[in-house]
Assembly symmetry: C2
Homo-oligomer: 519 residues x 2
């Protein structure tokens, strides 16, 4: 069995830990199997304190730790002890000649660089938390996994115990290779955090080589479809949404959920509702009355809303929860929940209840993989103000109309291109999304409006477009359907014709400086 | 000036290189400024051979390299020389006591791990290419960048020369910090490659911590919109598409281009055309006659095709190029180009000409960032065969009809959900994409068909849906518009009703086992 599983006996272990928790459970096992332990500094003291035998590293290497611990384990006796190929005769002779011995097990965790970052320490303290000796030892051990067992995380203590007990003081090759993979996982992750820290300091956006890292939040039952595998990682060290009830979130739930939050987080503070289906909104409203806001968002397309994601940019109340429960949603998001509202929502067993009040809205990049490539860009998160728009028509909007126009434009930014939105007051009444032709998006938005709204001629209808109209036909179609004011990016060679048409039809026309494609 | 810029004098440099090219340009500068050089092994020999002075590292440390070079620089004298804080009195005393000297400049590049991977070496050789000493030195030097200059790449030689010449043998803090950032860029990138190699060996899909890395292919003038910054990275070491002419590709071009290639690469070998606009197809055909294929794809929606991306899954001919030139496309992709075809296409100065024949179609994951999270999944790349479908209607499709149905379904998979496609033979005649309601996608597809096609009652029309119909109304609307055969995933509670409706209307109905959402 020993040969088949490539068992190697652990005679000597080197332990060097920044986080010394749970050490006892591993020390017991090592003592049971008569493993010699070498250690230094705080780890040495801790081991002695817990009542276990341990040799001091400085005596082992005959070299005193210097530079406040910056140099202690970076010593040939340590690294040769780890790195030598046990089956290599030349290596064996060189080890003997130098008086070096094998180190069979390395247990290391690193200075808490990430914690130093999150703790907002000053730059010098953060730099001091870059571990040099630790990663060197872990990398040596992982490279030589055929002979050496490497523990690079607290989470591995239990399985190490099991393995050593199972094989009476030895470990199997399979286990060692798994640990090597996890060791390089730790070093790779550690390096990305350090690199990103330097990048951010220098505001370097697109370095020659780039790395992205995340911690596993959840594995899904499947990806976008049941024959795909899927998972979600967080780039920081915490969950940014909190699930308070309901079934496990799926890949598609997360995708829709973040589309919803992109939209609702662009609203004024603590008001507004969006309903999302297939990553596109099918109803949006920002009425200061939350219940009204919900009903208005729902009324835009109540058919599509079925089974969708409801996102409330305010704290959920008991009253609204009762209204919400009448409709079938897959997910309900709110910026916090009244206690009683949760009780009510939980009556729908499967309904996923999501608290978004801890959402970290700050992020610097959006990225997406395409075959073996990664497209990366800064997010389209500029807050648009009145000064970012020009009134180009003869007919001018009053203050309130201007606000309505900007609302329509902000909703439109968050719909898949080509996007057209028709709004009345501060609610959507027609949404046209994801079309190759802008004119088609106009027609879809108008069609929705006609299907679900009772519009009378006194209603002020507003239309927004995420990019310029290439021809007059788009705005013409909208105005014919009753639209009174249009907001759109400038930039078409037909801009003049479009302004002319607006003036002819007494339509208010606003040009934005910015375009907002969103694919 | 010296104090303001925090200039530090370089007296001693340590050089340890795997790739020894271009070394001479740096050696000249170091000699000019009387810098002592320490080196070992192949680098030492190379420096001597080039005619420069150099001390041998083993003499410097008084320690002979062992274990076939696995241990040479992992020595306290080296690392203390790099890591000591020059302004720290205690450090100074410890250095003196140990007889250690400062190392002010570290020039290192790593064993070519990536090259070993691409060279398909065996596992032992790949493992031997994991550099231990190199990254340790680079990390030490980068950590101590306030005192030490670190060169971790061949590309930095020129700027090092400039800096040293400018400051007469010194470097500025600003420069050293930039180099530290780039050093951690190199180590982070190196570690991700090693980690991913281990992951792949063990087929571990979703490790607890994950990393993604890429090399910068291009910075764009802007991202999806002009107020956003954007760039593209490649996860491998090569460009997978080749641009043969035209304007620089934009962020949106790349986004559309890879949507096009996802679709065309799902076609049978060397036939088929797709036209893409806003990441969605607006026309698809797989006629074995390439010119016919082009014309058919174009005729599906010639209005939307304007300014789109043309993707040909075959080698572009002179004849077809003449046809293509009559239409305004932003990008033309082909699986290779006849020489004469390029000449013709280049007549349109701005037209981006893309050769996709070197596209690396193999990739294991799709990932996308959402706020501070990353959603990751295996791609939806299963090849569907006849056995993956069930005929559930009384009316059965013949062999050719079955092929047409599968074609329609494969196109539908690559359209943004909810997606409905109507096809005639092996071309699309109506595409409905990106709607929150499936019924709306049906109507959009039908609307397109009615607008651009002359359909007569003898034509066999086929419809495909990327997910099941929740109600009968979707299929009903399609059949009323003349559709004779429908292919769709099973799974609705109304499946039985839908089969009943198909039989009542003598419609062929096929169920797939797989669903194909694509958001």
């Amino acid at each position: 069995m020993g040969i088949r599983k490539n068992l190697t006996k652990i005679k000597t272990a080197l332990i060097s830990l920044s986080d010394k928790s749970n050490l006892k459970i591993i020390l017991n096992t090592l003592r049971k199997h008569k493993v010699n332990i070498i250690s230094s500094g705080g780890t040495y003291k801790k081991i002695k304190q817990l009542g276990y035998k341990c040799s001091e590293l400085s005596k082992y290497t005959n070299f005193d730790e210097i530079l406040d611990g910056r140099v202690k384990t970076l010593h040939p006796k340590i690294h040769a002890g780890i790195l030598n190929l046990r089956g290599n005769l030349k290596h064996k002779q060189q080890m003997k000649k130098n008086g070096y011995e094998n180190i069979d097990l390395v247990i290391v965790n690193f200075y808490p660089f990430e914690k130093a970052l999150l703790g907002k320490r000053n730059h010098n303290e953060i730099i001091e938390n870059i571990d040099i000796g630790g990663p060197s030892m872990v990398r040596s051990a992982a490279k030589n996994y055929r002979d050496v067992t490497v523990i690079s995380s607290l989470n591995q203590y239990e399985e190490l115990n099991e393995e050593i007990n199972k094989y009476k003081g030895s470990t199997s090759l399979k286990f060692r290779e798994k640990l090597a993979e996890e060791a390089f996982m730790e070093t790779a992750f550690y390096e990305t955090k350090i690199f990103k820290y330097f990048l951010t300091r220098r505001a370097n956006f697109f370095p020659k080589k780039n790395v992205f890292s995340g911690k596993l939040l959840d594995k899904f039952r499947y990806g976008e479809n049941p024959h795909q595998l899927g998972a979600i990682y967080n780039q920081n060290d915490y969950k940014d949404i909190i699930q308070l009830g309901g079934k496990k979130l799926s890949y598609n739930n997360y995708n829709d959920l973040y589309s919803a939050l992109t939209l609702t987080k662009s609203f004024p503070k603590n008001i507004g509702v969006a309903i999302i289906k297939h990553a596109n909104p099918c109803g949006v409203s920002i009425n200061s009355n939350n219940t009204k806001s919900f009903n208005e968002a729902l009324s835009c397309d109540p058919v599509s809303a079925y089974g969708g994601i409801l996102s409330c940019n305010f704290k959920m109340s008991q009253n609204l929860a009762k209204q919400v429960n009448k409709i079938f949603f897959e997910v309900v998001i709110a910026n916090g929940f009244d206690k009683d509202s949760i009780k009510i929502l939980k009556k729908r067993k499967n309904l996923r209840i999501i608290d978004s009040s801890k959402l970290d809205e700050k992020f610097n990049f959006n990225f997406i993989s395409k075959f073996n490539n990664i497209l990366i860009q800064t997010p389209d998160n500029i807050k648009l103000k009145k000064r970012d728009f020009h009134v180009v028509s003869i007919k001018k909007p009053d203050k309130k109309t201007m606000k309505k126009l900007i609302f329509a434009f902000n909703v439109c930014r968050n719909i898949k291109s080509n996007a057209i939105v028709i709004t009345k007051d501060f609610k959507t009444v027609g949404i046209g999304s994801g079309q190759p032709s802008r004119l088609d998006s106009c027609r879809i938005a108008i069609g929705k409006m006609k299907k679900f709204q009772k519009i009378n001629s006194k209603d002020q209808l507003i239309a927004a477009s995420d990019a310029f109209f290439p021809f007059v036909d788009g705005i013409e179609t909208l105005v014919q359907a009753g639209v009174d004011a249009v907001i759109q990016p400038r930039g078409s060679i037909n801009d003049k014709e479009i302004i002319k048409f607006a003036n002819k039809t007494k339509t208010i026309l606003i040009f934005s400086k910015t375009r907002h494609f969103n694919h």
